[in-house]
């Protein structure tokens, strides 16, 4: 009955809380610094500049009190790429260039990860929705973007659980290695769920902000298309009853 209060399984798990100056720095500024570094470092192969940037990034980890193993955690999955890149550049061009390029990749990845480590997900979401406000003129609705993000966060564990269930069921039937036997039920259940979730949102919110008196599901005028005359129903079939 009692829930397991696991902050680890809660969505914003990647950020490491803290009170360092880097944690307190506004997220927008951190993102701007990252964008500037990404652009600036792309145009240089100077070992001095790149080495300096890497040292500054390392200092950032120290200021934010992030252990070095978290940095390695990001770099490790890239090793299988970085080693061949280093060797190809070394043999074909020069070993100095090889060092420069690998240093640049590591620096940028580490710096970007430092922003993630010191910025909570909800702060990041707030920055993103605020940054989208000017795009209203192009039909981007920040409220709808925020709803989509929240819904995705909510349904990550739900669909993850669904995937697990489907896997177990197919394994019991001996179909555990048939990718189609896994993908199809997962897709169908996700699509059904989409219908139910839409109903719930409309039942709870009273429909879109933009429409006032309109009913929840205005019947969709069917645009005739070649051969699809029968394939048209805006409303889902009723559920179990």
């Amino acid at each position: 009955m009692s829930p397991t209060p696991s902050s680890e399984s809660h969505a914003p798990a990647r950020t490491r809380p803290g009170r360092s100056p880097l944690h307190r720095m506004p997220a927008g500024i951190k993102l701007l610094v990252l964008a500037a570094a990404g652009t600036g470092l792309a145009f240089t192969t100077s070992l001095w500049v790149l080495g300096g940037a890497l040292a500054l990034t390392g200092a950032g980890y120290a200021i934010a009190r992030q252990p070095v193993r978290r940095l390695f955690g990001v770099i490790r999955p890239m090793i299988w790429l970085l080693v061949p890149i280093f060797l190809v550049q070394g043999f074909m061009e020069s070993w100095i260039l090889a060092v420069a390029i690998v240093t640049r990749i590591i620096t940028l990845v580490a710096l970007a990860q430092l922003v993630t480590l010191t910025t909570p997900s909800d702060t990041m979401i707030a920055v993103i929705t605020r940054a989208l406000t000017p795009f209203r003129v192009f039909g981007v609705h920040p409220g709808k973007v925020a709803l989509a993000i929240s819904l995705a966060l909510r349904f990550l564990p739900v669909i993850g659980g669904l995937a697990q269930e489907v896997r177990d069921a197919q394994r019991a039937r001996g179909l555990g290695h048939n990718p189609l036997a896994l993908a199809l039920p997962l897709l169908i259940r996700t699509l059904r769920m989409a219908g139910d979730v839409t109903d719930a949102i409309e039942a709870r919110s009273g429909g879109d902000d933009d429409e006032d008196a309109a009913p929840a599901r205005t019947p969709v005028p069917v645009t005739p298309r070649a051969g699809s005359a029968a394939a048209s129903s805006p409303a889902p079939a009723p559920r179990s009853s």
Binding site: S9, R204, G206, A214, A216, S241
Partner: protein
């Protein structure tokens, strides 16, 4: 007290006719709806708050036609679905409960106090900051009820609210429904849930077959199912 007038409603989905002419006026405080799978009872429930609009006929809630006043109807008639996992739409308990208040533009502290009130009424206040997916099945259904009630609807429609719960949680939800101040309309297979209700409708093949007091209606229903 809410009055819902359903007049001559036919509802067709593609080639399938879910309701084949239903007329009924609902004014009691506790109304049960039963019927076998495919009898049209879920479609009927969705008519009552405008989630489904009639193909023919009309549904009028306290003078408002569901086909014309969608938003106002949904503020008056709350809806609790069978699977709370599909009804909880925000990742954290307090965010989800507050979802219904979004369009109302309330000041922050008023919103907070409404959230407090409804969470403590359903014994969820200690879970306020919890991720919704860590709740038990019974707690999720309570959260779904709290979310539907935060806008203070006059009537709440439940679509099989206990079907996915274990016995203990099903009893807890049944008690919660019986103790509600609002008009409640409950679609269910759980006949014990309807014991002290005022009226029970039995659906069969898209029509109302029986409309009577619970004991009489349920006796006819059980007899028919055999």
């Amino acid at each position: 007290m809410t009055t819902i007038e359903v007049t001559d409603v036919v509802k067709r989905f593609e080639s399938f006719e879910a309701l084949k002419g239903v007329s009924v006026t609902l004014a009691e405080k506790r109304i049960g709806v039963v019927g076998s799978n495919g009898s049209g009872k879920s479609t009927f429930a969705r008519l009552l708050n405008g989630l489904v609009l009639p193909t023919r006929g009309s549904v009028v809630v306290d003078g408002l036609d569901t086909a014309k006043a969608g938003k106002a109807i949904r503020r008056r008639v709350g809806f609790v679905f069978q699977n709370p996992d599909n009804q909880i739409v925000f990742p954290v308990v307090e965010e989800d409960v507050a979802f219904g208040l979004k369009g109302l533009k309330l000041p922050r502290d008023e919103r907070e106090s409404l959230v407090d009130t409804v969470l403590s009424r359903y014994g969820l206040e200690h879970l306020r900051q919890q991720p919704a997916h860590t709740l038990s099945g019974g707690q999720k259904q309570l959260l779904a009820i709290a979310g539907a009630l935060i806008t203070n609807p006059a009537c709440v429609v439940f679509d099989e609210p206990t079907t996915l719960l274990d016995l203990r949680n099903a009893r807890m939800i049944a008690r919660t429904i019986r103790e509600m101040e609002q008009t409640v309309i409950v679609v269910t297979h759980d006949l014990a849930l309807l014991n002290e209700f005022d009226r029970v409708l039995v659906f069969d093949e898209g029509r109302i077959l029986v409309d009577d007091a619970p004991s009489a209606a349920l006796a006819r229903y059980v007899e028919r199912m055999q």
